[in-house]
């Protein structure tokens, strides 16, 4: 339960909504309302969509504030254009990649979903999907269809080096002015801001080593020729 809550809070953070303003949000794959509760607690109004009547029933028992709809994301968004200030989805998007019946065609369903979602979002707003793609191919299919539908943005991977903590968020922008992708959590910054500003390569990296060798050559010093082994990372005590 706590995990879902954390994922929802992070997704909400990635939405970058204006501070202290109540917004109207869409919760895709809202399930039993855990993510919706996070939205309510942050002062927002939301509408939840889920394909499982059983899960929605649980959400009702929990007396969630948001209105619930029984529906299939792959059929498209049944709303007027520009209705929502943002959309979140926790652990649901990968299900669109499954062909649950002979008639289902995942790429087409994904495309229908993304194009209609784009339409029901206000210009300049975002859609954030926390997802568990089965493999790279699935991830590519999802991101590809979202771009074809007109979204910009990309993947934010928190704690990319930890198998346990790693979480993926597809952060999409629905038009508006160009925005930069939010920073992922758990990624070490190897340079200070000043060093980045100066345009120097980070200390001891391969580029730094190559630049240093070039400087020495210019000074007329005797320098070994560069090879594919130059500046490579060496394990432990050398």
């Amino acid at each position: 339960m706590a995990v879902q809550q954390e994922l929802s809070e992070r997704a909400l953070e990635l939405l970058a909504l204006p501070e202290d303003e109540p917004c109207l949000l869409l919760d895709l794959g809202c399930g039993s309302g855990l993510s919706g509760e996070v939205l309510t607690e942050s002062g927002h109004m939301w509408v939840g969509l889920d394909i499982s009547p059983a899960m929605l029933s649980v959400a009702q028992d929990r007396e969630e504030e948001g209105d619930l709809l029984l529906g299939d994301m792959g059929n498209g968004m049944p709303f007027r254009a520009g209705s929502f200030d943002g959309a979140i989805s926790i652990s649901a998007l990968q299900w669109l990649c499954n062909a649950d019946s002979k008639e289902h065609h995942p790429p087409r369903r994904l495309f229908k979903f993304f194009t209609t979602l784009y339409a029901v979002l206000r210009r300049g707003s975002r859609a954030v999907f926390q997802l568990y793609p089965e493999n790279d191919k699935q991830l590519e299919l999802i991101t590809g269809q979202s771009m074809r539908a007109g979204f910009t943005g990309g993947l934010v991977v928190d704690f990319p080096n930890s198998t346990k903590a790693k979480k993926m968020y597809l952060c999409l922008f629905a038009g508006g002015t160009t925005q930069s992708l939010p920073r992922p959590l758990g990624v070490e910054q190897t340079q200070t801001r000043k060093e980045r500003l100066w345009g120097k390569p980070p200390k001891k990296s391969r580029e730094w080593v190559l630049a240093k060798k070039e400087r020495n050559r210019r000074q007329g010093k005797d320098v070994r020729p560069d090879s594919k082994y130059t500046g490579r990372m060496r394990k432990g005590a050398f």
Binding site: E21, P22, C23, L24, G43, M45, V47, L49, I51, P53, L56, S57, Q60, D67, L68, L69, L70, G71, D72, N75, G76, M77, P78, F79, R80, G82, S83, S101, E103, K112, T116
Partner: protein, 124 residues
């Protein structure tokens, strides 16, 4: 289903439907509840409410009475108006009934306050 949500819903997901709005409400059970009044939220939501569709919907569930025919000037500061809007948008819920597509007549049942927007194979 609150009347606010109904105001956003369309049947445009059905193949061949152009606009699919507004959906007609056939209500069998309507509940009035009390919800916390948040003027800031209501003011914000007003910009995306289709007022005439809202009045029509309120009328069709038997709670049309009090509403002005159009949104007044400076509605965001008009607390009396915001309270009326809040009541109609948030406190009237259709628990049992149907939503009907204005173009195809297709019915979407509402059970336990949840509209069923699932489509059949041929409609996608």
């Amino acid at each position: 289903m609150k009347l606010f949500t109904h105001n956003l819903l369309t049947s445009s997901i059905i193949k061949g439907v152009t606009k699919g709005y507004p959906l007609k409400i056939v209500s069998r059970k309507v509940e009035i509840s009390e919800k916390e009044f948040n003027p800031e939220l209501i003011a914000r939501l007003l910009s995306r409410v289709e007022w005439s569709a809202l009045c029509e919907a309120a009328e069709s569930v038997g709670h049309g009475g009090d509403l002005p025919t159009s949104v007044p000037e400076n509605a965001e500061k008009d607390e009396e108006f915001l309270r009326k809007a809040h009541h109609v948008l948030m406190e009237i819920e259709v628990v049992d009934g149907d939503l009907v597509c204005p173009e195809t007549g297709r019915q979407f049942p509402i059970q336990n306050g949840i509209p069923n927007m699932l489509l059949n194979e041929g409609e996608v």
